[in-house]
Symmetry: C2
Subunit: 377 residues, 2 copies
Amino acid sequence: MRILADAQALEAAGRDVIHLEVGEPDFPTPQPIVDAGIAALADHRTYYTGACGLPQLRAAIAGFYASRFGVRVDPRRIIVTPGASGALQLILALLVGRDDEVLLADPGYPCNRHLVRLFEGKAVNVPVGADTRYQLLAAHLGAHWSDRTVAALVASPANPTGTVLEAAELAALAGACRERGGALIVDEIYQGLVYDRPHETALSSADDVFIVNSFSKFFQMTGWRLGWLVAPDWAVDDLEKLAQNLFLAPPTPAQHAALAAFEPATLAILEARRQELDARRNYLSARLTQLGFVQAATTEGAFYLWVDAARFTDDAAAFAAQLLADEAVAVTPGLDFGDAPTMLRFAYSQPIARLEQACDRLAHFCKQDLQNGVFRP
Amino acid sequence: MRILADAQALEAAGRDVIHLEVGEPDFPTPQPIVDAGIAALADHRTYYTGACGLPQLRAAIAGFYASRFGVRVDPRRIIVTPGASGALQLILALLVGRDDEVLLADPGYPCNRHLVRLFEGKAVNVPVGADTRYQLLAAHLGAHWSDRTVAALVASPANPTGTVLEAAELAALAGACRERGGALIVDEIYQGLVYDRPHETALSSADDVFIVNSFSKFFQMTGWRLGWLVAPDWAVDDLEKLAQNLFLAPPTPAQHAALAAFEPATLAILEARRQELDARRNYLSARLTQLGFVQAATTEGAFYLWVDAARFTDDAAAFAAQLLADEAVAVTPGLDFGDAPTMLRFAYSQPIARLEQACDRLAHFCKQDLQNGVFRP
């Protein structure tokens, strides 16, 4: 977050900053979704909905699971939330008592750990590396699962690495959690943003997992703050009560807008954008490799490249700060996601022309850097 | 909440239910706010904002404190949140460690207690009665403040009672909390919905309190899910980090819409509606008194009447359930708010013609009831 604040300060001072640090697609919300939102406002559909969201939206999400993934989900098991943050809050409030432990991959999305702590649970970071594509797998559980462990939280596609869990890995994880009396939580907020592979959900591998999802990334509705969760049937009534206490209801205009998210016209726009992201991924990946950054795992999803800058520095945070100051290119240091001091996350949430400019600046910076030896004293 | 579900079920079965149980004004969001929301959507202003909200909205809220209440607040101390729920979550996450105690009035809004418990704090219910207009006052603190108490939470105007704290009472409360090393949290979500008295804020009485506020009630933006808090300066940086972890940012379209909330045209609409609520209050209050319900305290704010049904029953929850079943009038039993078995809350969030109809049905029910002796066996 310091990089983002510094980047904004530079920008305010008139510099042309290239933002490869933010977890937000540059695309505007697709027009059919915007139009549905406008129609809802014009029609004064702005009163509270039920705590679990509009019945027709829950049904539409269930319809999407059926049509896209071939998975049947009772709409009752789908709870619409204020963003994925709201979904994870509900699940943690339900599952995590004080001092209960939740296993998470390190590196991983830092807010998840913080949320576990806010509910007085203990976030147990499980170091993962290139050998498992930075994913927490069933094989890790034995060494980290304790009497106090209640759940493991994985993400597919993952942030910051962009790697994906295979169906067999998810089934093994769900089974391993189940036989230990715990739950598997799967963060699927980058679902749909996958390249060279089919669309997938963990619900195809196991029916008793907790799913966190979002309209922010694939559907490009970031600022609308809308997400959902899928829970086992036994959990739904308690989750509804928690939703009433934690946030009453998700935002109404966003829910009406999201009804248009699953229409063919919207899905066609989203598919074109997915292809555009794929092209960016290929471009940026090739340029960074050429420059000497090492991709430790193949990025198959989300819109991030997770690269090792060890050739240039043993302090990627200092490297990122200097890169921003010298060349006005903002990237996120690996330390923001865990114990990864030489890693950097590049978001390809900018058009290719802009990525090209960023890489040219980066090339200049690395050349200077190697000459001056700033980062490897 | 059971009454609401039962009322909806009756309605689905074709009954003409009169809803006096819901905490939502029947007015649509004022048109200038809706228009600003539509303009924001048309203009694709749907990306994430900063965690604390749009700078121009924080400035507009500060401007409102200056113009309406004559209070200067640095916009930096104002954090825009997803509803008042989000504001209270942030404040509790900041102030309440495990087993720390928070004092709350009983009766009071039940979600507040539940939120304290979700953050592993202990909600200490302080019984309050008609002698203090159902308000927790400084005089109560001595008997309930312990080594583990970190804050007292009061509401003005209050739910379910509609009573207001006087400036001197707020100053005394703030001082008493301060000298014990704790904080005063003031829920002002019904601010502006006051009758026979001026608009007020606790910030006029003390600068170091935590304020919870909302665009839902006075500004009639319920489903938009937007609120704010005001915090002492020392707390702002930590609250910003908590906001990033708990919900990233408040909804963007709602923030742009809310910029129109403080315009003269909007405020004129809101003043007309406040007068309409006042007329409803006077009507309903007179009719209920005539029927034999006792108002234990003068309702000066919000849109609730808190009445004692002891003349008819010693089980107001059963009374409310039977009233709904027999006459399709929904009201909320006092037990939903605390230890108040003979009390009922009537929301005057319906037009007078509808209130008249409700009172006629109630009169019929009470007559029947007294004859049959159902509630006083």
